[in-house]
Assembly symmetry: C2
Homo-oligomer: 312 residues x 2
Amino acid sequence: MIEGPDIKKAFLRISSHLHHTPVYTSKYFDTKYGASFFFKCENFQKTGSFKARGALNSVWQLSSEEKQRGVATHSSGNHGQALAWAARQSLIKAYIIMPDNAPWVKVEAVRSYGAEVIFCESNLKAREEKLEEVSAKTGAVYIPPYNYYHTIEGQATAALELLHEVPPLDYLLTPVGGGGLLSGSALSTHYFSTLTKVIGCEPADADDAWQSFHQKKLVEQVAPRTIADGLRTSLGDITFGFIIQHVHDIWRASEDAIITSMKEVWERMKLVIEPSAALPLACIRENPSFFKGQRVGIILSGGNVDLGELPF
Amino acid sequence: MIEGPDIKKAFLRISSHLHHTPVYTSKYFDTKYGASFFFKCENFQKTGSFKARGALNSVWQLSSEEKQRGVATHSSGNHGQALAWAARQSLIKAYIIMPDNAPWVKVEAVRSYGAEVIFCESNLKAREEKLEEVSAKTGAVYIPPYNYYHTIEGQATAALELLHEVPPLDYLLTPVGGGGLLSGSALSTHYFSTLTKVIGCEPADADDAWQSFHQKKLVEQVAPRTIADGLRTSLGDITFGFIIQHVHDIWRASEDAIITSMKEVWERMKLVIEPSAALPLACIRENPSFFKGQRVGIILSGGNVDLGELPF
């Protein structure tokens, strides 16, 4: 279980080492959809995404014996960067297992924080095997990207900050991949803003969370085909549990809507966001009148894009 | 002449209708160049550039008889958008003459503010002729993009805000095209931060300001060849006068440095800036140790880029 005080404690533990990211508004999107949007800019967060929150909260709850052994994870990108950065804050060693097709900019970023990158094939089995191998050899402690209480508590602090800063929200929208950000956001609204409904936003071509939510059982993601590289993973049992309990709905968006919405944010808000961060606006784009007259929070989850591989 | 109180009055006149744009810092650039940088984010300004300041300050000093006739200008982009927007704030008509090779995104933006766009060939003579024709027909008042006291007073307010917000700056760097932003910034430092040295940053392949500054006479720009579409114009006699009097130096940067620096800001700061806005960092890139230990203000002048025409 994660209780309200756990989230507050996580906030106190990590916030002075992170950016208190700004909340932006946009006359353009407000006019377009007739709503009031509040964008929590986690693209400006340390390491370029909200993942720094969960990683730091996890690393700082390790024992000193565990810290001596270092930390390890597998990650297609943002969690890897975040853990590498969090490990450096604690002066401990980090081993990051990355798929060999990970965006170059993310691999470089992980290395720039002093972590060791170990490549493997781009499938869950290969990643897990490589992780076990590395942990066995080095003794490093595995810090999971989402299916882990300390990670979820950390991710919950983004919504906590947003809810404190803006007028009461009718809705809060976040992308959903493994479900760490969505679970954390749903827990924060559950404890601190009861009337706010949370909607998870997922690529239609990687819709395991939507399937799981509606079938009320954990459905694994097979062969995801989406540009939103942060959202190709499956939910875990812990995140699924929180999502079933506290999330209002899960919506899906097409690849076209994702790309167009991402471009719109770049052009209109002058913010570099990654495809995954565009999911909430992509879902709104496909339901343009749903939020009329409502106050809607949106977590712009990250801004790590390979500029050499833009879809437009 | 423009005195200190003129700039303060311009600030009081326009600031409540504009964004008080944030000042960002960047650990990445601080570490890279050993300096402390303060980035004034005019890419977040209304209409996507600092030009909204000068345009609004100019429009609001028209008589009501002039306002009835409307306003007109020729502009390759940002001033056109800014004047269209400023005119709409005053509910008056705007005629914007644009070269037929202007970036599409800028043409659309001008139209979205309700202004009438009139195309002409992409040279100064054609623009000026078309402007005279439109003014003769409609009676619209010409609002110049830079060589005009009210415009310069308005542009000066960006530096005014920056200087009030950060510790005393050793240097302040801005791009220079027609010289409105550079003149205004130099006047603001002259009156409000005497020890701050102002450096204008210009593309090497459109270096009329550098030529004019060093030859101490106004040299016209012929055949500029730079991706920084906001900086292809020549200085005017008024901006040249202020620049000679109050600017410390003018530096030049290669096209490569401009493109690389722009990309660096997108990747590292997650900010969409246009090529012109990258000029200060491009100049620093080519003089990487010059600012070691110094506090350096940089005006990120705008963020209007055609995402379909990126140079990377």
